[in-house]
């Protein structure tokens, strides 16, 4: 079943159209990768999917689990099961990490008509997930992302994903800034969430990540359009030859 359907999606920032008609369907259980040159619109796509203000959809549709999300605010989309791991996670000085994580999890539970978790149970739950992702207790005590290294921020994104258990996760360059060991840990965290009920869209520049998180499909985004799709071998091709040939084909 299609978890995410992107249909002829056009989107603009201000007066500039950045996405020029994107079509992409992700079925449950599938992992898709998007690769593409800098500035091709990958992060723009991720923001449009998550409903960021200022990213205007001018044509097409986005269906999450069969429902259009275009009229939904960012928070509603998230509670409907969409998750974005940011390319540049945002520092929130003064916002305690624990209250942030708890507010997010409870918002989801509230929506689902379930009981909110109490503080103690929550701390236990977070500690367990954090440990598996190599997120230290010390990091958990700090304000959200404040003073985290680049790699630590990425792990913290995956921790949030693990806690929120989205049905559709978009990971925007989660591998950038990660050292070899962290890449392995984070990939394991992502793979642990792979399952028949979940879909994933992994944005990356490097085949390296895709050898850990093996995708079912690979798409090349160039100039705001998907110019080529294939299986995992397409990533290898990009790694070897760059985008020049592919862009020429398109």
């Amino acid at each position: 079943m299609a978890l995410l359907e992107i249909k002829d999606l056009r989107a603009s920032i201000g007066d500039t159209e950045i996405l020029h008609g994107i079509n992409l369907t992700i079925n449950s259980g599938e992992v898709h990768a998007i690769m593409g040159p800098n500035g091709s619109g990958k992060s723009t796509l991720s923001y449009v999917l998550s409903g960021r203000d200022g990213y205007e959809v001018t044509g097409g549709d986005i269906l999450l689990d069969g429902e259009s999300v275009l009229e939904m605010e960012a928070d509603e989309r998230a509670r409907a099961g969409l998750f974005l791991a940011f390319q540049y996670p945002v520092e929130l000085p003064g916002v305690s990490g624990m209250s942030f994580l708890r507010a997010a999890v409870n918002a989801r539970l509230r929506d689902a008509g379930e009981e909110e978790v109490d503080q103690l149970a929550f701390v236990k739950m977070v500690r367990a997930e954090a440990k598996a992702l190599g997120v230290s207790d010390e990091m958990l005590k700090r304000a959200v992302n404040v003073g985290f290294s680049g790699g630590e921020k990425k792990r913290y994104e995956i921790l949030q994903m693990a806690l929120l258990k989205p049905i559709m996760a978009v990971l925007d360059e989660t591998d950038s800034g990660l050292d070899v060991d962290a890449l392995k840990i984070v990939s394991e965290g992502v793979n642990a969430l792979r399952g028949p009920e979940r879909g994933m869209l992994v944005i990356t520049h490097y085949q390296r990540l895709l050898s850990h998180i093996v995708p079912d499909f690979v798409h090349i985004l160039a100039g705001g359009k998907i110019v080529k799709s294939g299986d995992k071998s397409l990533a290898l091709e990009v790694e070897e030859n760059g985008y020049a040939d592919i862009a020429n084909v398109a």
Binding site: D75, V90, A103
Partner: protein
């Protein structure tokens, strides 16, 4: 009230008569008076001077094990107050001519609140903390009740003996048309005061407070005010460092909505060398609210090694809100470290999006960010119990402000 102008001071006027005449001579200052340029008080002339009466009710307790002092309807209500613990005495000022004269000598000559409140003195009490008082004593001054037609002029003197330590809470939640509390605190050498104040008066109220603090040598002050109630509120504090090595922290948060005007005015007087003062001011303004911070730091010619820090930040939640800041440094000594800064900003859309992208509803996300903006302010409060009291007050405001 019409000023019966130019009544001459007579030799045998009492100090209170003299104060009444001083007030009558000029009345409430309008915006032509520099110190009241942002917050003119001439509209207060329409408020009638009508003392209230005690309701006989005791306000609900806010802190465990605190000594409760009830000011109700602007009047000291002994029956609804606790007995003072060992080492602390409460005396009334009404018939204490000596205490009145001493206070009068310390009042600024032309300040409207100093003069009017002292002259009117709907309640007058002196709290004297002696060396026999327990270190962990908490006094609560609870200002309650009143109506739109009543006015309150409580005069409170706090006298701390050397080496004493006190926690003092001022909880203002009355409903007078006009409240003008005058508080005078004397900190003898090596005394330590932890002070918090919540101004949460009724939405029809005008609130103009003048607090004076005289700090002796080696004193320590940790004072924090949250001002969020009233229609017009001015919290003015004059802090005089009169002995060396005074360590003073005097911070404020103001939280305004609708058409509120919230004014924080401080005058710090570094009269002697080696004192340290730190002021942190945080304001959040919604709707058409206005915030004013005026901070004057004066460093006397021989007050070398003064360390005076002042930082104000305002967060505007609406395009119609406005914040004015007027820091003033008057430095006559050369070997000092003084700084001040003022910023005005809005909530960061990127921050908001990050929170919402995690499923947190917009109102809750905004409340989290407002609290985050205020947290380094609240962090200034050293005493955990006092901190909790004000943190709750701030949190409930943030939740209300974002709910609409």
């Amino acid at each position: 009230m019409s000023p019966n102008s130019a009544a001459p001071l007579i030799e045998n006027d009492t100090p209170r008569d003299a104060a009444a005449k001083r007030f009558a001579a000029v009345g409430w200052p309008g915006k032509s008076v520099e110190a009241f340029r942002f917050t003119p008080l001439d509209s207060l002339a329409d408020r009638q001077i009508l003392h209230g009466t005690a309701s006989g009710n005791r306000s609900t307790k806010i802190i465990d094990n605190a000594v409760h002092i009830q000011i109700s309807g602007g009047v000291y209500d002994a029956a609804s107050s606790d007995d003072m613990p060992a080492g602390i005495s409460l005396t009334t000022l009404q018939d204490d001519t000596e205490a009145q004269a001493a206070l009068f000598a310390d009042l600024p000559e032309t300040h409207p609140v100093a003069n009017l409140s002292f002259a009117q003195m709907s309640a007058g009490i002196q709290l004297s903390v002696s060396a026999d008082a327990a270190d962990d004593t908490t006094l609560v001054l609870d200002y309650a009740d009143g109506s739109e037609t009543s006015s309150a002029f409580p005069v409170i003197i706090v006298d701390m003996a050397p080496q004493t330590r006190l926690r003092l809470i001022e909880n203002h939640h009355s409903a007078h048309g006009l409240s003008a509390p005058l508080v005078h605190i004397r900190m003898a050498d090596k005394s330590e005061l932890h002070h918090v104040r919540l101004q949460d008066e009724a939405s029809h109220s005008d609130f103009v407070a003048l607090s004076q603090i005289q700090a002796g040598a080696n004193t320590k002050l940790n004072s924090f005010t949250v001002s969020k109630g009233a229609k017009l509120a001015r919290c003015e504090t004059h802090l005089h460092m009169l002995g060396e090595h005074a360590d003073m922290s005097l911070s404020h948060i103001y939280l305004g909505a609708d058409e509120q005007l919230l004014d924080i005015t401080t005058r710090l007087n570094h009269a002697v060398p080696n004192c340290q003062s730190n002021q942190l001011i945080r304001g959040v303004l919604d709707d058409k609210a206005r915030g004013v911070f005026q901070g004057m730091v004066r460093v006397a010619p021989d007050a070398q090694k003064t360390d005076g820090q002042q930082m104000s930040r305002a967060l505007l939640l609406s395009r119609d809100a406005e914040a004015d800041a007027k820091p003033e440094l008057e430095i006559y000594a050369d070997d000092v470290v003084c700084s001040h800064g003022a910023t005005v900003g809005e909530l960061d859309e990127t921050h908001l999006f990050y929170l919402m992208s995690r499923g947190i509803p917009e109102a809750e996300a905004r409340a989290l960010l407002i609290e985050a903006f205020l947290i380094d302010g609240l962090d200034q409060i050293e005493d955990p119990t006092l901190s909790e009291f004000l943190t709750d007050a701030v949190r409930s405001w943030a939740t209300d402000a974002t709910a609409s």
